[in-house]
Amino acid sequence: MKVYEGERGLSGAVVTVDGEPLPPKSEVKVFSKMGFEWTYVGPGPRQLALALLSDHLGDDAKALALSEPFMTAVVAHLDNAWRMDGAEIDAALAAL
């Protein structure tokens, strides 16, 4: 199962999947040109929601459709440093 991690540091707000940079999925939709962010509702968190769901579900259209509620319910509450696995994303999606 894949592990997603994010952390704010001097090099930026970095997000990885299994230790590799998470692709922002800007070819699906550009919400933010300034990269990922979290713990609020806005363009950076929206991009992160899309990128996480797209990587996890492997379905860009479904990810795009679910990105707004997923951002509000999950991404808007992530800590400075956070860690989620696929099961946690599934559980969060089921609770939407």
């Binding site: 991690e5 952390e7 540091g9 001097l10 090099s11 970095v14 990885t16 230790g19 440093a81």
Partner: protein, 74 residues
């Protein structure tokens, strides 16, 4: 300048320190600001146009502050 806990695993050397562009621009900005303020305060104290020596001292002070901002990488 990666500073995350993941990057701080033992064995990984911290990257070499790099000066920020902000302290370069800021150095010029503060030198200009300090020089203008010096002139204003000096003209207020002497009640007119300050002497060349006072102006030169102000320029030296302003440059010193600007250089320090850069060296201290503020």
């Amino acid at each position: 300048m990666p500073i995350t806990v993941r990057d701080l695993k033992p064995g990984i050397k911290p990257p070499p320190r790099q000066r920020n562009i902000a302290s370069l621009v800021g150095g010029f900005v503060i030198a200009f600001g300090c020089f203008v303020l010096w002139l204003l305060v000096a003209s207020q104290i002497v009640g007119g146009r300050p002497s060349a020596a006072i102006i030169a001292a102000g320029a030296a002070f302003a440059i010193a502050v600007g250089v320090w901002i850069r060296l201290a990488d503020l």
